[in-house]
Symmetry: C2
Subunit: 211 residues, 2 copies
Amino acid sequence: MVEELKMNYGHLFEDALIQEINQVGTFKEVPEGHKMIEIGDYIKSIPLLISGAIKILREDNDGDELLLYFLEKGDTCAMTLTCCLGQTKSEIRAIAETDTKLIMIPVRKMEEWSAKYKSWRNFVFESYHNRLNEMLETIDSIAFLNMDERLLKYLKEKSRISEDNIIHNTHQQIAYELHTSRVVVSRLLKKLENQDKIELHRNNIEVINLD
Amino acid sequence: MVEELKMNYGHLFEDALIQEINQVGTFKEVPEGHKMIEIGDYIKSIPLLISGAIKILREDNDGDELLLYFLEKGDTCAMTLTCCLGQTKSEIRAIAETDTKLIMIPVRKMEEWSAKYKSWRNFVFESYHNRLNEMLETIDSIAFLNMDERLLKYLKEKSRISEDNIIHNTHQQIAYELHTSRVVVSRLLKKLENQDKIELHRNNIEVINLD
DNA sequence: ATGGATAAGTAACAAAAGTTACACAAGAGT
DNA sequence: ACTCTTGTGTAACTTTTGTTACTTATCCAT
């Protein structure tokens, strides 16, 4: 675990902190699709991402979903930090977008390290910063963009994260994450196909050129 | 200034920190409507709100606006914290919604106090927590609600903050903040008037009963 | 190969939101 | 009183998005 820690967090944390993380953290591998946090869960440990990606979703009272953003290598979950400190329930759902490796830190260390390590404090602040900016991006998308532009952005993000040019999603799944209907997604995807940006297949979408 | 500090932050900060704030902070009064932060500004001090309210707005490339949330007594601006630490430009615009009193803290104290005072760290974390939740609220509104529901929510929030039942806004101003058009706002307001929830006048809206 | 389930294509329609255009009202300044 | 500016009311229309309904395609299991 130490190598992976140093690889991903060595530039952020001093050796002493890396050592501590190594001692109290537990390594975890999560398969694609696994639900890691459900809305309403109480959270007792902080994740440090080593590899893979996690999608963060919001749900309203009627069960309607919306994709907020992705967490990637080197990220942590600001919502989790928040929940840990405040002892409050999770406001979001987290699902592994790809196979993911991470290190879980028990909450109690949070306060201790915040006092002890400047680098930890900076990491936490930085995480909040990043998450607020992701939220702003999300707000920009839903407030200022039409569905066709949102879909395009979504496809770009997806293919960036999966690091391949095949997006393994059904139209229905995309509709859930953009909070629209399957018919609308199919319609707009077909337009993109006609523009030779993508090719549609069953259960997946082949990215040709999204620019 | 000390009394106001103790009144608003005494339950959060120990005396030593209150003293320090008193020494390095500068008291400031801002009139309603004053633009406090513009998008792209670099920020060199952290505001602690004593009284009044500040509205936080987002703008896209075309100049379209959107109200994100309000800051009130006891709040600080997480975006500002973020900008201070990261030395980055502001992503948002801040305008005094009412006459506002606040204390400005120079950035350099941020790091020092974070190391020294647990209560300061908690305050900062708490602020981020609150802001993330406000952003979630905003996302919920624009993603899951129709314009009529958003307008109703907006009116409730406005009348709560101004602590009176007259909302001093033109339809055009409301349209900007909700990122829609004046005609749409007028249309929906008229519906609310027909339901006896509000009464419309020139330049202001009288709240009767919004529930 | 056949049947059943799931995914995708598409037309027709409905609802919500945005746009254009114009009339009218209130108030400010002359 | 008259004019100008700004704010509001409203009709008619367009665009975007969402819904319903049905067809066709693909894959899996037997």
